[in-house]
Symmetry: C3
């Protein structure tokens, strides 16, 4: 995707000052500009970078007045930040355009129902009775099991596995090598110390606009469904146990794990590497600091930290003293000595 200065000026309703044929193929911050990149100057604090940037094109404000020489081609616009955002989204739309069609090497079950204008890559397999909506994209080497339903506009990246019975909403993004619908981890102990598998007969249901990060795993329910609400965003390498439910627009950072049957409310913000025990109830709008371990229910709007986690402010108060514990204990010993000698 190569654009020249004239084309970009047209896109952002700006005017070129410099080489109208200057070509760019990527976006950059002004302080990291390189030949062939397009940058922007919105914050006056960064003005000095304009004179040294290697960016081929820079968006600047209509009111910008240069005080030194520079080599970048300018495009003057009313609001450089807004114009840059517009280009970002334009870039993204182009990236997300997929040629529709089904690769010759894709293996699609005869009983699957496939909308006309979808894109299925090479070496993809789609199982029996699965239903794929309009504009669904399955990249190369993706796998869709039996009885799976995938809503319109959802993109499944290379190597992601959507296993039997999963229901995926519209406009979801499933990143590479994520696994949706592997068996839950349920084991019934035998008298001899060995374990029998508890059959995992449920499925996974994702709402609309859900993002699932690379190498993240979401297990199917033992009975019923593991449910991920509309607009939930899951980062990479997250583990979601069987029968977990996550409310709408909750965001979870990388490497967090949620054990079986826990219910999480809406609009929560959960940091990375958090662990949440099974069978808990986490309220709405809860904030959990990275690396915390949750062993108890949390009420709406709670903010917690630590392991076991408790109130965020209280944790930090305690931790300040923990850092100085050596001094405190020395004080204690001095007092004791003093009293013993009195």
């Amino acid at each position: 995707m190569i654009f020249n200065a004239s084309q970009i000026a047209e896109l952002v309703s700006g005017t070129v000052e410099g080489n109208t044929n200057a070509e760019v193929d990527r976006l950059s911050k002004i302080e990291e500009g390189t030949e062939g990149s397009l940058s922007f100057l919105a914050n006056p604090k960064y003005t000095s970078f304009l004179y040294s940037t290697d960016a081929t094109i820079t968006l600047v404000s209509d009111s910008f007045v240069a005080e030194k020489e520079f080599k970048t081609t300018l495009i003057r616009v009313a609001d450089p930040y807004e114009a840059f955002s517009k280009l970002l989204h334009h870039y993204n739309q182009i990236k997300q355009q997929h040629s529709s069609g089904i690769a010759e090497t894709a293996i699609v079950s005869d009983s699957a129902t496939i909308a006309d204008n979808i894109s299925i890559g090479d070496y993809v397999q789609i199982g029996a009775n699965s239903i794929l909506g309009e504009h669904v994209v399955l990249q190369a080497q993706a796998f869709v099991g039996n009885n799976v339903s995938i809503g319109a506009n959802t993109v499944v990246h290379t190597g992601a596995k959507i296993l039997d019975d999963a229901v995926i909403g519209t406009n979801c993004v499933i990143h590479s090598n994520a696994v949706i619908g592997a068996d839950g981890f349920g084991w019934a102990p035998n008298g001899d110390g060995s374990y029998d598998k508890v059959p995992q007969t449920g499925n996974v249901i994702l709402g609309n606009y859900v993002d699932v990060g690379a190498n993240t795993t979401i297990d199917r329910a033992t009975l019923g469904a593991t449910k991920i609400g509309n607009g939930v965003k899951l980062d990479n390498l997250i583990q979601i146990g069987h029968n977990v439910e996550i409310g709408e627009h909750t965001v979870i950072a990388a490497q967090t794990g949620i054990a079986g049957s826990t219910k999480i409310g809406t609009h929560c913000q959960i940091g990375g590497q958090v662990g949440i025990s099974g069978h808990l109830t986490i309220g709405n709008r809860v904030g959990i600091q990275a690396k915390s371990g949750i062993l108890k229910n949390i009420k709406d709007d709670g903010k917690v930290m630590g392991y076991p986690a408790f109130d965020y402010t209280a944790f930090n108060k305690s931790y300040v003293h923990f850092r100085n514990l050596h001094t405190h204990i020395s004080d204690l010993h001095s007092l004791k000595k003093k009293l013993d000698h009195e």
Copy 2:
């Protein structure tokens, strides 16, 4: 898999009360019953749900007497919980039936030895000199390297990778995108601050009835073998380092990591997100709380928590005081003041 009430009644030796043609295709809890699901009422505490459940069929006790109206079709049995468990296992058996045969697109080395009645999916590759036992299932896009041995009845799910020289026992389940036999993480520092790779020449050996979760990684040994004992159950996203040994029937929850050369005993229960240092010895029947970090050996029957981990009860005693540390330190300061003024 659709069953009607008559068929189910026959399976569980029950009698239908209602619509004998009522059809179900899944199992549910009574409080989560939906149209098309089969549920059960075993615990009297849940009786109220029977009058409101949307489950199409519900298993109830022979002695059940309704006190209100309800719409679900009943199947009366001697023991509803037992009948439901029977159906669960029946369901599971049907799920696990795989049509035997080798997909046309599977690439199997001429020197591999393959039992007659196995199932190999599309786009699978099997390397030189590998041996696959009876009823082995390799789902689509699985990979088996060279010199691998896989015992009878083992199932390798889609995208799982069994690398060179691995020995997998009978009746194992390797979930999607797990990696067995990648190189151990061994590096020899050079004088200039760079590292040389320590060749990883060993392999991975799994016993029988081992489960390996989705996206879990088990590294090959530097020399010798990384050994996972019979009946060990590993959840998703676990890391097992090179030359680790895990004793029989130990169960490990998701996202736990075990560093190189550590030996873990039999029948341990290890929580999620635990980290265990290298070159340690963990005894038999040890319990490790989730998120703990283990830096020392643990004796048989030990139960630990924290990071660095110590005795579970002692940790919790200390932690109660940590939570109130601010009050304790205030007390200490008051005492100090008092004494200084005397």
Copy 3:
């Protein structure tokens, strides 16, 4: 790879004492020697194992004098440890030899540029405009997107995914099911509590001699590049966020996560399950203990532990007191009582 005693003696300039036709196909420690393995005796502490080892061949020092019977065939060399290391490296070189050629089932874009002597396995896909250097190996089921560049001698293992625009240096190893270049986790909150995706337009750049572990994920930058320096070694299941930069020869153990835009210096040693917040600067030669959580910048040569992490020695001093907190608080209460009664 089967070798007999004569062949090995020649490789290590040694002399056989025993059966010159004795055959081995693997390496082992002397205490774990099995039939068919080659072992070595370097440390006199291990001498007793020589008399009981099942290793078929054992390298010993020229000066070794047996005091009991043994069954292993000896190869006498000047320095047994050095000779064994030589064999290890020899073994590794053989393992790393790949037949060059492009599998018939590999799908290579017409616009990709492929050096002559590379090895591309079955069911690999290579996208448009990608460039692969000499001796590059792509194992079966690997995926290379569009506009990717991979330097000479780099090996991409089965199932690994190198997504669009990534630049991979020479002599790198990308292990199975690793994902390089998935979208960064960037979300702009809307007024209604939902989130819009921040377009992720950057890429990932790996230097030379970088190792990326199995199931590790490295996200592309929002703008610019996520950069991994020469000689960096990443273990399995690691998460590297968007726009992170890691300096040369830094080594990171399994399951560690680094949030967006953090910069890490050269020659750091970072333990497993560490979490590092976003937008931090970690100096050179920093040591971070396993499981630590980093919320602040760290200066050159810092050594930290805990969550939130602080100085390693100070943490351990505090932790000793934490373990005994119950006793300390009892002391405090006694003092208080005593003073109250005075």
